[in-house]
Amino acid sequence: MTRSPETSHVMSASDMDRALTRIAHEIVESHRGVEGLLLLGIPRRGTILARRLGERLARIDPGFDPSQAIGSLDITLYRDDLRAHGARTPEPTRIPGAGIDGATVVLVDDVLYSGRTVRAALDALQALGRPAVVRLAVLVDRGHRELPIRSDHVGKNLPTSRDERVSVLLDEIDGVARSQEAVVIQRRGGKQSQAGER
């Protein structure tokens, strides 16, 4: 993958690994175990990060069953900017096992920015049932919130300017080797913002 000189690495593959392991421990600690825990990733990258968090949770506590406690929650149909960004084909929403009623739901996403994605996710959750608690885990919190939303578990707090673009490169989506996965910041070269950009 070619990168312009204005691209800078802020997290390497091993940084991401360590951050996910720490978040997994934080989740178990704040929930006091894994009973009734449900991880929902927000497609597309959040789904993959949720799966990786789940593998770690299963290692920490064998009572955690990834097949019953990991899912995905698509928010396309709940966005407030559909008219500006145009229609997208929704990604699958998969709610495992007994559903979300009474569960401790941990929403997982790659980058927390304006908070609008999370707002949409909360609406989507409400339509599916009534969780006991909803928490938010993100790999990167880049600031510039537009809504009163905060993350509970953060991989890295990253001060950014609005002209910058933060990308999380993952094996499954971006085709980079697992050891080359990274979080990078790019300065926008006069390009207008695009759909899906963070």
Partner: protein, 331 residues
């Protein structure tokens, strides 16, 4: 995509995008809250110049599940019967604040004319125009076929098409907009399409279409378990065509082109490449005892009720993709 007028205009990518979106919409109807906020504040007008129950209700249900406001307009009892033109009717509806017009019209090409006229900025969805096209019916048929086809192959339907599936369309091809829309869409999705009809009910030039043509249903069903179709779509014998001398009597039609109990038994013996039974589709309403026997109508192979619920999902997908699109703002 700005309008949905014909399945002939749909690319493979666009067709899959609609079907994949419809899969997610289908999941909504199994939930506790069967409503999405996606089209809140948008207005959809059902403009029907021809009688219809299921298509209009299906579009209405789809728009309401997406939180849009719905206005129903039927030509009967409206100013159209006082001689108001289509242009004036549509401009009136737009002045009221319509964002999308779902139109059924007795004239072939009416939806395309409205979309290309410049009379309105609304998204236009063709809900059947004369004997031309009925694209959402073909999309719901494709969704039904894809569900069965992918289930037989143990795959997730998302992102797949109908490559290798053999589909027979039986009945009045000449007057059927459902058949035309299905032929173009199924070919785009990679299925092999066979038409079965009396020679009087096939259009001129059918030999240039990308299909095989049979004049007898027995011949099309073939012999032996490998020869049969993966799905058979029975078209309705339209009572209004009975006087046209296209075939001698209803009984004669049933004997040669109907899905009788005897043909149902032959069909049930067929097994597809993955060991699956053939699917029976019908756009409804069924004429039991004419094109389809009561046993075939009630057979577990019959997908009619699934088709109805898939219709709502597909129409939700189309409304979402057309009305959430940003192209409207620049057009």
């Amino acid at each position: 995509m700005r309008h949905l007028l014909s399945t002939a205009d749909l690319s493979h990518t666009q067709a899959l995008s609609i079907l994949d979106t419809a899969e997610e919409m289908a999941a909504v109807s199994t939930r506790e809250v069967k409503k999405l906020p996606t089209l809140r504040g948008r207005t959809v007008v059902n403009l029907f110049f021809e009688d219809s129950t299921r298509t209009r209700i299906s579009f209405e249900a789809a728009a309401k599940r997406l939180s849009a406001d719905v206005m129903n307009f039927s030509a009967k009892g409206s100013s159209v019967s006082k001689g108001e033109s289509l242009k004036d009717t549509v401009q009136t509806l737009e002045a009221i604040g319509a964002d999308a017009i779902v139109m059924r019209h007795w004239a072939s090409g009416a939806a395309a004319q409205l979309a290309g006229s410049g009379w309105t900025d609304c998204a236009v969805i063709n809900a059947g125009d004369g004997t031309h096209e009925h694209p959402t019916q073909a999309l719901l048929d494709a969704l039904t076929l894809r569900r069965g086809w992918s289930a037989a192959h143990g795959a997730d339907p998302r992102g797949t098409d109908l490559t290798g599936m053999r589909v027979l369309i039986v009945g009045d091809i000449l007057h059927s907009r459902v058949a035309r829309s299905n032929i173009w869409l199924l070919r785009t999705l990679g299925a092999d399409v066979g038409l079965v009809a009396p020679a009087t009910l096939l259009p001129v030039g059918v030999e240039k279409w990308p299909v095989s043509v049979y004049y007898s249903l027995d011949e099309a069903l073939g012999s032996g378990p490998e020869a049969g179709p993966d799905a058979i779509m029975m078209l309705r014998v339209q009572a209004e065509r009975m006087g046209g001398a296209y075939f001698p009597t209803a009984a004669e039609y049933t004997r040669r082109w109907g899905l009788t109990d005897e043909r149902l038994a032959r069909l049930a013996a067929h097994r597809g490449a993955a060991g699956q039974r053939p699917m029976i589709l019908h756009p409804g309403p069924m004429n039991r005892g004419v094109e389809i026997s009561a046993a075939a109508a009630d057979s577990p192979m019959n997908q009619v009720l699934d088709q109805v619920s898939h219709g709502v999902s597909v129409r939700m997908a189309v409304l979402h993709l057309l009305l959430s699109s940003s192209e409207r703002n620049t057009a």
